[in-house]
């Protein structure tokens, strides 16, 4: 019986912020160490990768642009799962996770747009075009900013959590649009070439560094996300302690 309890209880155990903090404290050094190793290996492999026969050295922008773009979508998906966690299971850490992920996702989206723009200038001859993929990612960036604005607008985290969760769920419509925009509309942005039926169209010499970089940046995301969640829990504790202190100060008789 105790076995069954511990099995079902594992996910709920994390609901206790103290347990989450101890877990984060144990996992974070390993996670950040792995991030550094994989990212260093990825950078080294990117340096060693040959130039493209058409694009020259600018093809190396791909090694950071593609992971940023993937992560910007993955981060929003994680926020959507967290929003479901807030609304359906009422997991107390879900809104902490969503709130912590939003600024990181916004930064990754901005970096994807900037690196894409830098890549587009030599390849397409322009910094920016209003094609479907670029526009939908730009909309994603605006939605991140709107969600951040909404979470910062309310004092009470419990209230802002539900409002933000609903907004996040409604905004998830954009993610399939981004993913399939290159297939539905005839755009300047190239269609999916890494993960597709019939194998990748990218040469292995360029594909391997890309995959290592993608894993490295994903690890970086989880490290940053966990640190941000830990900060958020600590911040809430400080606020709660200040409130308790203020209340007890009122009660103390004036001497």
């Amino acid at each position: 019986m105790s076995d069954a309890v511990s099995k079902t209880g594992r996910w709920i155990d994390l609901a206790n912020p103290t347990r989450f903090l101890s877990l984060a404290g144990a996992v974070l050094p390993w996670l950040s160490g792995m991030t550094m190793i994989v990212l260093a290996a990825g950078f080294w492999m990117s340096m060693q990768a040959p130039d493209d026969y058409q694009q020259g050295a600018t093809v190396k922008i791909m090694f950071i642009h593609v992971p940023f773009a993937w992560l910007s979508m993955m981060c929003y998906t994680i926020m959507t799962v967290a929003a479901l966690g807030t609304l359906v299971w009422r997991h107390p850490l879900a809104d902490v996770s969503a709130k912590a992920a939003a600024p990181i996702g916004a930064v990754f989206t901005a970096l994807a747009l900037i690196t894409g723009s830098l890549w587009g200038k030599p390849m397409w001859g322009t910094w920016w075009v209003w094609d479907a993929r670029l526009t939908s990612v730009f909309v994603l960036f605006l939605m991140y900013l709107g969600i951040i604005a909404l979470t910062r607008a309310m004092d009470d985290p419990a209230k802002s959590a539900k409002a933000t969760a609903i907004l996040t769920l409604v905004g998830f419509i954009n993610i399939p649009i981004i993913k399939f925009s290159v297939d539905w509309w005839n755009t300047l942005h190239q269609p999916a070439s890494v993960i597709r039926i019939g194998g990748s169209t990218i040469d292995p010499s360029l594909l391997w560094p890309l995959l290592v970089m993608a894993i490295g940046f994903t690890l970086l995301f989880f490290t940053l996300h966990m640190m941000a969640m830990r900060n958020e829990i600590w911040r809430r504790r400080v606020v709660a302690m200040r409130r308790v202190a203020a209340r007890s100060a009122e009660r103390r008789p004036v001497q």
Partner: protein
């Protein structure tokens, strides 16, 4: 539900309801465009449909924060939420959205042919733009209901509603404008984007009230 519809319409038409301000804002936006791009009639005719759509979108967003705010101020919003045992709250939200659309957005659609004349548009383009506005603007109101419900407990949520709603309304704008152009320019189709626009409106007629009802419920307690 019928009583609620009539009540909201009466409240909206009364002075201070803000319905007239939306039309004036629409008029002002359209009047500013020729000053910005210059009085070139050919250029105005080409961008006319897009300008009408942008003006209508902004004017619709302007009045959205009033959707639940006034009811919250006088307490009737709590009564509506408490009545969800008898009526589905999402249905109440839908009726409120329809009343809001009738009072403050339908006048924009009616005024748009006149403003189309200002923009030197052809009769066919004016008709197509008015038709797409008629079909597309309910979607903006229904998406906006989510934003208005989410931000209802904020003291100054008006600007925030516009900011968080604007990215979600971009598909409506895209298909509305492309359908308007499709009616005039030859190779572009009219029916396909028009049907997608109608589909977006129907889709948000379901999703918008449900999400807004959930947000209102959580803001009440």
């Amino acid at each position: 539900m019928g009583a609620l519809f009539l009540r909201d319409i009466r409240l909206g038409l009364r002075a201070g309801g803000g319905a007239l301000v939306g039309i004036l804002f629409f008029l002002a936006v359209i009047a500013v465009v020729p000053f910005g791009v210059g009085p070139d009639l050919k250029l105005l005719a080409r961008i006319g449909a897009a300008m009408l759509w942008i003006g209508a979108l902004l004017a619709t967003l302007l009045g959205l924060d009033r959707l639940f705010q006034a009811d919250r101020d006088d307490g009737s919003l709590d009564l509506l939420i408490m009545a969800q045992g008898r009526h589905l709250l999402a249905l109440t939200v839908l009726v409120k959205c329809l009343a809001h659309w009738t009072v403050s957005v339908l006048p924009l659609v009616v005024a748009s042919p006149l403003l189309g004349l200002f923009m030197n548009m052809e009769p066919a383009a004016i008709g197509a733009t008015t038709l797409t506005l008629l079909v597309g603007t309910p979607a903006i109101t229904l998406i906006g209901a989510v934003g208005a419900a989410v931000a209802v407990s904020l003291p100054r949520g008006g600007l925030l509603v516009s900011v968080i709603i604007l990215p979600l309304t971009i598909p409506v704008l895209i298909f509305g404008v492309s359908a308007s152009y499709g009616a005039v320019e030859d190779p572009a189709p009219f029916l396909a984007p028009f049907l997608i626009l109608a589909a977006i409106t129907l889709f948000f007629a379901v999703l918008g009230p449900l999400a807004a009802a959930a947000a209102l419920k959580s803001s009440a307690d």
